[in-house]
C-alpha cells in the first residue's frame, strides 16, 4: 500500500512536469529540451535555499521563478536570435548543468534533516488526525504520513491545473494558444508572437522546475543528474493523457496530462516490480514515445491502403 501511495505521489509531482511539457510541445509546438535542465534547476534552487533556512513554500516558489528564467532564455535564443528551437533548448540545458552545480556547490544535496513541504504536510496530517500514525482504508493499513503527502501533492496539482486552465482562457492565454495554432493569424490580430513564445516557454519551464523542486523534497535530495530524460517522460505522459481523454478540448487535455503522468508512473512501478531493471527505464520510455509517435501514422497509412484496395 505504501508503495502504491508513493507511486501516486510521484505521478502527481511529475504531472506538473507533464503540464510544462504540454504547454511547450502541445500549445506552442515548441520541442523544448530545456526541461531536462529545469527539473534539476528547480530541485537545486529549492534544496539549496531550504538548507540555508528559507521556508519550503518560498523555496519552491523561487524554483518556479528560476525555471521561468531558464525558459525565458531559451525563448529569447529562439525568437530574437533565430536559433533553431531544439538547439536553443540544448544550449540552455547544457549551460544549466554547470549552473546547477554552482547553485548546489556539489553534485548532491541531501534534505533529510531539513524542513521541507513534505515534512510540513506530514505534520499537518498527523495533527489533523489527532496524532495517529496510521489508519485503515478498505482494510489496508495506511500510514498517515504517506497519505497526507499524497493529499497535499494532489491538492497542489489540482490547484495548479485549475490555474493553468483559467489562465489559458484569459485574453493573454487565448493569444498564447492561438500563437501555437496559427502564427499568421495572431500577428494579423496585433499580437507579438515572439513575446508569446518567450512567455509560454517561461511558464512551461516554471512548471517543470516546480516539479523538480517537489520531487527533490519528496525523495529527500537534489541530484545534478535527476533531470536526464525528463522531457521524454513528460511527453510520454502527455501522449498517454491524450489517448485517455481522446479530445482536444482544453480542460480535458489538462486533466489528461495529469492522468497520463500518474498512469505512466503506475505502469513503470508495475514493470519494475515485475523485474524490469531500472537501468532500462529510459530506454523503455524512449521506445514507448517512439511507438506512440509512429503508431497513429502507421494506422493512417493502413487505413488509406485499405481504402485504395
Amino acid at each position: 500500500m505504501s508503495l502504491l501511495i508513493g507511486t501516486f505521489t510521484i505521478g502527481c509531482i511529475l504531472s506538473l512536469l507533464a503540464l510544462g511539457v504540454f504547454i511547450s510541445f502541445r500549445i506552442f509546438a515548441f520541442p523544448d529540451i530545456t526541461a531536462d535542465g529545469s527539473v534539476t534547476l528547480g530541485a537545486a534552487v529549492a534544496a539549496t535555499l531550504m538548507v540555508h533556512g528559507t521556508s519550503p513554500p518560498l523555496a519552491s516558489l523561487a524554483a518556479f521563478a528560476a525555471g521561468m528564467l531558464a525558459g525565458t532564455t531559451t525563448g529569447t535564443l529562439y525568437t530574437r536570435f533565430k536559433i533553431n528551437s531544439l538547439l536553443s533548448g540544448i544550449l540552455v540545458m547544457t549551460a544549466l548543468y554547470s549552473i546547477n552545480l554552482h547553485i548546489m556547490g556539489k553534485s548532491n544535496v541531501p534534505l533529510l534533516s531539513v524542513k521541507t513541504l513534505v515534512t510540513q504536510s506530514e505534520q499537518i496530517g498527523v495533527r489533523l488526525l489527532g496524532g495517529a500514525t496510521s489508519f485503515s482504508l478498505l482494510g489496508w493499513e495506511v500510514s498517515v504520513r504517506d497519505a497526507s503527502v499524497l493529499s497535499a501533492v494532489a491538492l497542489a496539482v489540482i490547484l495548479t491545473g485549475t490555474l493553468l486552465y483559467l489562465f489559458l482562457r484569459t485574453n493573454l492565454g487565448m493569444a498564447m494558444r492561438a500563437t501555437g495554432d496559427n502564427v499568421q493569424m495572431i500577428r494579423a490580430l496585433g499580437v507579438n508572437d515572439a513575446n508569446m513564445i518567450i512567455f509560454g516557454v517561461a511558464i512551461s519551464n516554471g512548471f517543470v522546475a516546480l516539479s523538480g523542486a517537489l520531487l527533490a523534497q519528496y525523495q529527500g535530495f537534489a541530484d545534478v543528474g535527476m533531470g536526464i530524460g525528463m522531457v521524454v517522460w513528460g511527453l510520454a505522459s502527455v501522449i498517454i493523457g491524450e489517448a485517455l481523454v481522446g479530445t482536444n478540448q482544453l480542460g480535458l487535455t489538462i486533466i489528461g496530462a495529469v492522468m497520463g503522468s500518474v498512469l505512466f508512473r503506475l505502469l513503470v512501478a508495475v514493470a519494475l516490480r515485475w523485474g524490469l531493471s531500472p537501468n532500462d527505464l529510459k530506454l523503455i520510455t524512449a521506445g514507448f514515445v517512439f511507438c506512440a509517435l509512429i503508431v497513429p501514422q502507421f494506422l493512417r497509412k493502413k487505413r488509406l491502403g485499405s481504402a485504395h484496395a
Partner: protein, 270 residues
C-alpha cells in the same frame, strides 16, 4: 488614408533567384475608397498587400497609413490599423480554438491583452447577433472548434473578425480564390455589405475579372512589380470583364513580341 510612395522590394537579392517584386510603386488611397488590384501571376499584387501589412519591410520607399509613417513598423504593430483576410481560408482563424474564442481574439485586435476573462457575457451576446447575420447557422455552434468548419464558413468568420473593430484599412488578398463558387458568392456579398456599411478603406486583390469589374470604385492593374493602369470614377464604372481580358491580352502580345524580337536578334548576331 494610405499612401504608398516609391516602394520597392527585391527578394533573394544577389542570387540567381533574385525577384524584383515591387519596382517603385506609387499608390494613394482616399479615405473610404475601395481599390481593386488585378494583375498577371507574379505581378506583385499580393506582394504589395503584404508590404502594406508588414509581412516584410520594404527595401525602399515609404508607407503612410492614417497619417502615420508605418514604414518601419512590425507586422503586429500595424495590425491595430489593418484588418486582413487571406487567400487561404485556414490562415485567418485558429483551428483548435472555438468560434467565440477566435472572435474574442479579434475583438482585441491591436490592444493590450492581459489577464481579463476572454469570453465576457456582453461580448458573447454581440457575437451571437453578428454570427447569426451570416446566415450559416453558426450562432448555435459558437463553442465548436473552428477547425471543424468549411473553408467558406471560416472565410466568412475571418472577414467578420477583420472588421470586428473598424480597421483604418481592410486588406483582402484573393480571399475567395480558394472557395467553391457558392461560398465565394456568399463571401463577396458579405464583403460588399461590410465595406459599404462601415465605409471601409479597402485594398482588394482578385483574380476574378467579374469581381474586378463589378466591385470597388477604382481599379489598378499590375505587371512585373509596377502599376501599369489605373482606372477611376466613370472610367472604372464602364469597365467590363472583357475590357480587362483585352488588357491582359495586350500584355501577353507585348511580351511575345519581346521574346520573338530577342530571338530574331539572337539569330542574327550570335
Amino acid at each position: 488614408m494610405l499612401e504608398i510612395q516609391n516602394v520597392s522590394k527585391t527578394f533573394h537579392p544577389g542570387t540567381p533567384n533574385e525577384v524584383r517584386s515591387l519596382r517603385a510603386v506609387n499608390l494613394k488611397l482616399a479615405t473610404g475608397s475601395w481599390v481593386i488590384i488585378i494583375g498577371t501571376n507574379g505581378s506583385g499584387k499580393s506582394t504589395l498587400l503584404n508590404a502594406v501589412a508588414g509581412t516584410f519591410l520594404v527595401d525602399e520607399g515609404r508607407l503612410e497609413l492614417a497619417g502615420r509613417d508605418v514604414t518601419g513598423w512590425p507586422e503586429h504593430a500595424r495590425a491595430q490599423l489593418i484588418g486582413r483576410v487571406f487567400q487561404n481560408p485556414f490562415s485567418g482563424t485558429s483551428p483548435s480554438l472555438t468560434i467565440q474564442e477566435n472572435l474574442s481574439l479579434a475583438a482585441r485586435r491591436g490592444q493590450r491583452r492581459g489577464l481579463g476573462w476572454g469570453l465576457k457575457e456582453s461580448l458573447v451576446g454581440r457575437m451571437r447577433d453578428e454570427v447569426a447575420r451570416l446566415n450559416m447557422g453558426l450562432e448555435d455552434r459558437l463553442g465548436n472548434a473552428i477547425g471543424s468548419l468549411s473553408g467558406g464558413q471560416r472565410q466568412a468568420l475571418t472577414l467578420l473578425m477583420a472588421t470586428w473593430l473598424r480597421p483604418e484599412l481592410l486588406l483582402l488578398d484573393e480571399h475567395t480564390a480558394a472557395l467553391d463558387p457558392k461560398s465565394a458568392d456568399l463571401v463577396i456579398a458579405l464583403t460588399e455589405h461590410v465595406v459599404t456599411r462601415d465605409k471601409l478603406t479597402t485594398l482588394m486583390v482578385t483574380h476574378s475579372m467579374q469581381q474586378a469589374a463589378s466591385l470597388g470604385d477604382r481599379l489598378v492593374m499590375m505587371h512585373r512589380g509596377q502599376i501599369i493602369h489605373d482606372f477611376e470614377g466613370a472610367e472604372k464604372r464602364r469597365l467590363r470583364p472583357d475590357d480587362l481580358l483585352a488588357r491582359f491580352e495586350d500584355i501577353r502580345r507585348a511580351e511575345q513580341l519581346d521574346e520573338s524580337a530577342a530571338e530574331m536578334l539572337a539569330e542574327q548576331y550570335v
